[in-house]
Subunit: 237 residues, 2 copies
């Protein structure tokens, strides 16, 4: 099964963890404890929306060096809150909200599926989240990574080629010996264009009622599975 | 216990794994199976001796970029074998010998000690071994790292400051929130000079009969323990 594939790389936000429900629940509980009466849903959705443009800025200005996701998220949340009329938050409050991205819960199949896949493959995230974010998330959620790879290690955000090919290289493998597992067709398309193998799993509730795409595979992916346990079963794990 | 320390970084060769006994046993069994009658002890000892000078060459020639340890080991083993009168090995044989550094066995206390330490701290190697070497080693030996940090990630070998400070930075911590655990006083001295906390554990048989130093602590280290289980006990893990 999956002949020649030695390592599985996983997109994380949306593929392994349910960022939207996690952030809404975390912020709601925190706001309640602090007496802050805010509907956090619009902020969470707008914040995720700011994610791609903020990485594009990093890409456009290499002279500034690579800026990690924690920093981008911290920079974008304050103006977004103001725009949404959320007032009275302190810098420490914004720091807390930003650290919420380290406290995301896995989908129900993630820990069991990864644990099974780990028996036959080297498993690692390949995420735009920074290393500390991914390591803190894994420790809290029990994600059993063999190692933690991140855009930060390669100084390039996905879908830049350096992220995918850097991951294969640092693992000592050829691109075709490495497979990206993701719930996003565009991430898989990039990986495939650079020679990696691909596996799609749908996460149709990732964006809640706002979800507009990625309900199913939209490319010739090497594998399509219902979830990570189904992928493990397809690989005989 | 260890107040303020959030992450433990571990030297690996000698501190966590017994490279000398492992390589000698691996090569002896392999040689026997292949009908190669060689005493591997001198090669293993000479190879380890070539380790520091080969990293110095990388340091002296930054224009060549960072060269990973697998490559340095592969480059040094062939002339060393010739010098020791070991003949008849093919390039594939030298590749096999080089990959031996991925197959090192842990000291008896390493897996249990790390597993205990992991309950209270983020744990990671901070080794001059490259990422693939460390990840393959961990998977085979059952080393339960939370993540895998390596000189390769920072483009600098220990004892360069970039390795120690890079590890603290990528974990999102201040240097004093990170502790290096090592069996080598010089590694700890470097870490301490850059503001990290330090813990020494002796590995008096690391170099076999050739061991000349590191029988005990030679600096004002924050902690001294008999082994990793003793360190875990000191930290209340």
């Amino acid at each position: 099964m999956a002949p020649g594939v030695k390592a599985l790389l996983f997109d994380v936000f949306g593929t392994v963890v349910d960022w939207r429900s996690s952030l809404i629940a975390d912020f709601t509980a925190w706001g309640k404890a602090k007496g802050i009466d805010v509907d956090w849903v619009p902020l969470v959705d707008a914040w995720r929306g700011a994610y791609m443009p903020s990485m594009d800025e990093v890409r456009k200005h290499p002279e500034n060096g690579f800026v990690i996701l924690d920093t981008l998220q911290r920079q974008s949340v304050e103006p977004l809150a103001a725009k949404l009329g959320i007032t009275g938050l302190t810098p420490a409050d914004f720091d807390y909200l930003t650290s919420g991205w380290h406290r995301l819960d896995p989908w129900p199949d993630s820990v069991s599926g990864l644990t099974r896949l780990k028996t036959k493959f080297m498993i690692s995230p390949l995420s735009n989240g920074n290393v500390a974010l991914l390591a803190n998330m894994a420790k809290r959620a029990g994600l059993p990574w063999d190692l933690v790879l991140s855009a930060e290690v390669f100084g390039h955000y996905k879908p830049d080629r350096e992220a995918y090919l850097g991951a294969a290289r640092i693992l000592g493998h050829q691109p075709h010996e490495v497979m990206l597992v993701a719930a996003h067709n565009n991430d898989l398309a990039a990986a495939q264009s650079f020679g990696l193998k691909t596996a799609f799993i749908p996460r149709p509730t990732e964006y809640g009622p706002l979800q507009k795409r990625d309900f199913g595979p939209e490319g010739k992916w090497d594998y399509v599975a219902k979830d990570l346990n189904d992928l493990a079963a397809q690989f005989g794990c």
